[in-house]
Amino acid sequence: MSTIWRMSRRSLLGSTAALGSTLILPGKAPAQGGAKPFAGTTLNISSWSAPYAKWLQEYLPEFTELTGIEVNYDTPGFAVYNQQVDLELSTGGSAYDVANITFIYTSRWIGAGWFTPLDDFYNDPNKTPDEFDAADFLNGTQLPMRDAEGRTYGFSWVADAMHAGASRFDIMEEAGFGMPKSFDELMAMVPEIHKVKGVSAFTAENHHGWIFPPIMQAFGGNVFVDPPHNIMPALDTPEVHEASRWYVDLQNNYGPDGWLAQTYDQTVNVLKQGRANYCLFNQPFLMQMGAPDSKTKETCAFAMYPEGPKGKFPGLAVHGWGIPTGARNKDASWEFIKWAVGKDLMMRMLEEKGYGAVTRRSVIESPKFKEVNMVNGYDVGDIYLRTIGLAEQGHMAYRTVHVYPQANAQINKAIEMIASGQATPEEAWRQAQENAIADIRRAGVDL
């Protein structure tokens, strides 16, 4: 086992220890005996269109064969999914039997009682076999799925860690650069490689509420004053002004034209086609540069998120399957969750789809994880583990604040206004701060 690998494991263990440990005792295995007690049941299941969610669709016939449960499954885009499910959950509707618990909505959806506690399911030996092993999930990925009393409402299927990737590392090498380790190195590199062979030097998706906070934090700012304890927005600060100036300069001068409208799926395509080079993006998306249909599979490179003046704060999001309170057949829903995040399927998705952002310790510690996460000679698995290790800084706390969606909307608007020249950073963030406070107060929060 390599030194890097040992370091990664230490990092992983360190992070999970820092986040706290959970004692979950799995019960006895139920007698399956080939019986299909839910045969004929139909489940409505939805998640946003993440790579995992789309790959999972290919395995659904196996679930139906195994349990006799039919599945209506859909994977709309991120924003559409969140709007649809938020509305459905808020009305106590029964349209969904299983739904993804989106990271930025974990606090809101779980806190409002819109999801079902799963403790009685996974602790019941008649419903859950020992092999499910709830304690096998990384504690850090399960924390957002719990309420203040420690009840579990979801099981995570992804730890969406933000990495750096390059689709045309050959261009960077020819210009004498490696993967930048810092924001300064990045800024020094982009003028030298921009439009070389027609490739834009930099790109990122237009969900600024996801891409920008790590930059904001790297300059010493944050979304809230001291999340989750003090949730007064902290958008109008010199650090945030400086960070936005840096980011908008980077995108406007070295990003592709139209970057403000470039969604995550478009960004993946841009990278796979090699039309833009260096990117700060989620691991499952970046990994697609190494896919067989990618034009950049032999020129791509991966690295840790670069360090800013105040440190390194890559985004880390967790999404998990849960059962809405209004679901009509919760036992059948639980059958799906057990299967979808079971050890077997997660391992198979790792092997067969190259799914590397897994959440089970047993899968991460398997030799296959390292093997699959070697992409074009880069140990992406190690980058992934070291990124998760950075979670112990607690920098992702801002994202679990129940009124984060309000701040998220203002961050998106502010970046757009600065990038399109409608406002200076000072003007845009002052307006964002005022709007965020007004929107959060409308939710009944005393600031």
């Binding site: 409002a112 139209g258 409208a261 039309r275 998106n412 399109s420 007004a438 009944g444």
Partner: protein, 302 residues
């Protein structure tokens, strides 16, 4: 006695009309009036779906949402954006529709085929129209951008520039709906009698004079109806904005219904969003009434 019989007959007739109309009125009340009443009632509460029990029945400050909306720069801006978008699209759609209707107002199989082809944008699902324009406006994959670059006139992404984004939406909306105005005006043109046109020709009128003094007065009511329909419908310009710009960059393309949508669907502020929607509906009613009055005044003058 005769008068009493007439009154009785009249009463019976009214009753028959009422019961004949009753099923339709009942359906209308259920699907239109009841939701509208609910909308107005909701707008008087701070209803937030994360806490519906406490907020849904709180009528302690019923005008709070309205006060906050009027004081909210984003709401006022969204109304101004809506006004600009509506004026631009309605004027463009009427002018293009009129021009094409005049060109296509003749009997020939070729022109019939062209007319049918022009109707395609209008019958496409709005989301498909939005996706077509998303491709056209994405520099990365856009045939328009590639063509302009090829001929030496490269342009930057139109939907991400503050000074072009709204007009890019207006162009897409005009493309989608000019067939509607064209169709109405064309139908009206085909009703213009030949005699006055022949008389004008004998009197030596030019084509322009024939159009201005003979044809236009005939088709004017149709133009006004088409414009009115489009004006009311322009308030619903949602799919294009949702797919192309999300109301951005910043708030440049954030029309009022999109702003209400964000408040309701992103933040669950249904009371606030209902107040915005109520004001929007009131505005559309007011506009329709005003235009109708103007039209009636015009007809009286004639």
């Amino acid at each position: 006695m005769a008068s009493a019989a007439i009154t009785s007959w009249d009463r019976q007739r009214r009753r028959a009309f009422f019961w004949g109309l009753f099923p339709a009125l009942a359906v209308l009340a259920v699907i239109t009036v009841a939701p509208a009443v609910y909308l107005v009632v909701t707008s008087l509460t701070p209803l937030n779906l994360t806490n519906p029990v406490q907020t849904g029945l709180d009528f302690s400050d019923p005008l709070r949402n309205y006060r906050e909306a009027i004081a909210d720069y984003r709401f006022r801006n969204s109304v101004w954006v809506q006004v600009k978008l509506s004026l631009a699209t309605v004027v463009a759609q009427v002018l293009i529709g009129l021009g094409l209707a005049l060109l296509l107002n003749a009997r020939s199989k070729l022109l019939e085929a062209i007319r049918t082809a022009f109707l395609i944008p209008m019958v496409l699902p709005p989301i498909v129209v939005a996706l077509i324009w998303k491709i056209i406006y994405s520099p990365d994959v856009s045939p328009m951008h590639r063509l302009l670059e090829f001929v030496g006139f490269p342009v930057r992404s139109l939907i991400t520039q503050a000074d072009t984004a709204l007009w890019a939406i207006a162009v897409a909306d005009t493309w989608e709906w000019f067939p509607f105005t064209m169709l109405i005006i064309l139908a009206s043109l085909q009703m213009v009698p030949d005699e006055p046109l022949e008389a004008a020709k004998i009197d030596g009128a030019t084509s322009y004079q024939s159009f201005w003094y003979v044809v236009l007065p005939y088709i004017q009511p149709a133009i006004i109806v088409a414009a009115l329909f489009r004006l009311i419908d322009s308030v619903k310009a949602f799919p294009l904005i949702y797919v192309l710009t999300n109301g951005g960059p910043g708030q440049v393309t954030e029309v009022t219904n999109y702003f209400a949508f964000v408040q309701a669907f992103n933040f669950s502020y249904w009371g606030y969003a209902s107040a915005i929607a109520t004001m929007l509906v009131a505005g559309v009613f007011l506009l329709s009434w005003l235009l109708r009055r103007l039209d009636q005044a015009g007809q009286r003058d004639e």
